[in-house]
Symmetry: D3
Subunit: 148 residues, 6 copies
């Protein structure tokens, strides 16, 4: 059988800051993140299966990532646990959606975090192949199964 | 010598329907399909060759795929042989350009179909590396030589 | 006060056919339609208003057009009433989502149709300024309030 | 003489929060803002002028907006003066680049703010025609000279 | 009747140089020019007309501009008559496609040149509304009927 | 540790001509080249390192390629040493920025040239993975470490 990769695109609007960094990104700022998730598998070859001809239904792949990543990180602020994040709690409603994470929230580390989330959610027979995250229109980080 | 990948982009406007499917795609609807075809080879290193420095002339790769895929599937309707396609014949001129195919016309299966067409048309020394088909701006399927 | 235009983008996947036409579009085919809706008004200047600083909440403009246009025309087939559309009824489930319209479904006429739908749905103080519909990446039709 | 519009594109990465708002945007979050600035004038028709054939040198229009808007708002956090912004001061280095503004930082109000900045900086004979700001890929606000 | 704008997109690959200019553009260099041509008119409302529902057939608008502009300027070099262009003649086959024009080939002047060409070619009832030319992804010049 | 790919995007405006070629590209013409450079490595996992969480600082990758490729090839003319390039010298200021290269300047050969430049400039622990160059919006050439 033929192996085929299937990719879905997502975006979300998030703020972050890099703690103890020496560039502009040390300040609270934000991005329109663009996320591409690619899985690989064999298209179902069974004309009685409602998903005949699909590796995974695009709408299933859409909801897995939407529920566990996009809806959680969209319109939120992500900050490293080592940063003075407790002071942020006083901001009340401006700080209602935030993530204190145990890694510096660079584009690279966010990709690894997303890979770990997605991998546990895929149905049998479908493997994660690639996750690519654009922080800006010209900068991206990417995890690929063949590298790891 | 160095191996280089060469990619051309194509698009075409096509309708389809997924027979015996449980989502919106069971209805006749359409997409502006985007197709990327990537081949791999060594650039010609011969200054007397008119194609010096090329793996394949972009315009040759363009016409191979345009003649055999784009010009045939553009402005057409693709339907699975198991669907009630004979009733469509009564639509006369609205059904002048159609393809009854022996596979469910998902994005995945269309990619495999295109791979088989293109592979037989490439000149010696040029190998098919990747075919990627976007059904919508956020959904794509992709065949890669390294997976198969 | 300053007048500001606010634009939202939508897309939907639709098939159509142009009846009694002399080009490729006479066949059933489809497009990934891209729709831009622009309204104009004065941003609310009242710090007690939850919508302070907005002409219209982006999410309100999003749902008006999503409910009345995108969700209805997405994954559907649009056909002119003068075409032999009754024969399509025999396609059963492939024809579950369709629109028999009293106009040739060109990009121009679809725009006019959408303008009439949207205009009746806008809240007071917000006027429709522009509706632009892309049939393909290189072809669009556009209604503008200043032309009419 | 012919009047011609000249447009430059800019982008910047900014966080904001909408104070006293009832949607997701009340939280600190961010966007990759895309900004289009359009000016209008007559191209210089003087072959001894180094800027012959230009309304304004693209690189001059680029630096005016880069210096006064992009370089200031990029990698910063913008917040309304009525929000509890003083508590943010304790964030120290994460809060080194911020703007406390006297308006709710909606896309609409940011456009008006940018219009006021740019208008004062244009050389004689060149008028501001349009400023369009994308907050996300699908949402934008726009000021146009003909509306005001 | 309703007035509708219809836009087609074109691109072409051209080199130019700005004579007697004080920036980088004085050197021979090139761009992937993107051209948008917008016309305005009333869609034909006559069900016996093959072009029913159209302001102008997209494919007619495509060929007018393709024949008279794209096919002539694509893969060519444009230079001002006051530049030392006669020395270029010695380049023989590298200089087979060139245009010596009586204006500095800035983006603004090219737009005016294209406006004059297109205006004379439109069928009755169809008026030129807007011509926009991108020299780079971030720089464009635009002629609009309402400004002139 | 996890290997992550990091990609930066660049563009530049360049003219070229293919000597002794049988297509349109034999003429002096130009393109808005788009360049994607991808490196691979392990994100630094050391909270005392200012670059914690990064494979390479995006701004470092940006400046390496900008200094050695973009700033040199932007607004220049590239020509094969076998072409009659000496005649070009008489063009004086129009020929101030040019590159006489010892290869036919096809998209494929330019990619190989850029690969050789970039490889020597990367810091330890960071390897070049992929270089992709778009000559036009629909044509690209690409070097990948896994192919060579």
């Amino acid at each position: 059988m033929t192996k085929i990769r299937v990719t879905k695109f997502y975006d979300f609007e998030m703020a972050h800051a890099l703690w103890n960094y020496d560039g502009l990104c040390k300040n609270i700022h934000g991005h329109s993140y663009k996320l591409y998730v690619t899985v690989i598998g064999e298209p179902i070859d069974d004309e009685n299966n409602l998903k005949n001809g699909m590796v995974i239904d695009f709408s299933d792949l859409k909801s897995i990532v939407k529920d566990q990543i996009v809806d959680k990180f969209d319109h939120s602020f992500v900050v490293y646990k080592n940063a003075p994040h407790k002071k942020l709690l006083e901001l009340n409603e401006m700080y209602a959606r935030h993530h204190v994470v145990d890694f510096q929230p660079t584009c690279e580390n966010l990709v690894v975090h997303f890979v770990n989330i997605i991998r546990s959610l895929l149905p049998e027979g479908v493997k994660l192949k690639n996750v690519k995250l654009y922080e800006t229109a010209s900068s991206s980080a990417e995890w690929d199964a063949d590298d790891n």
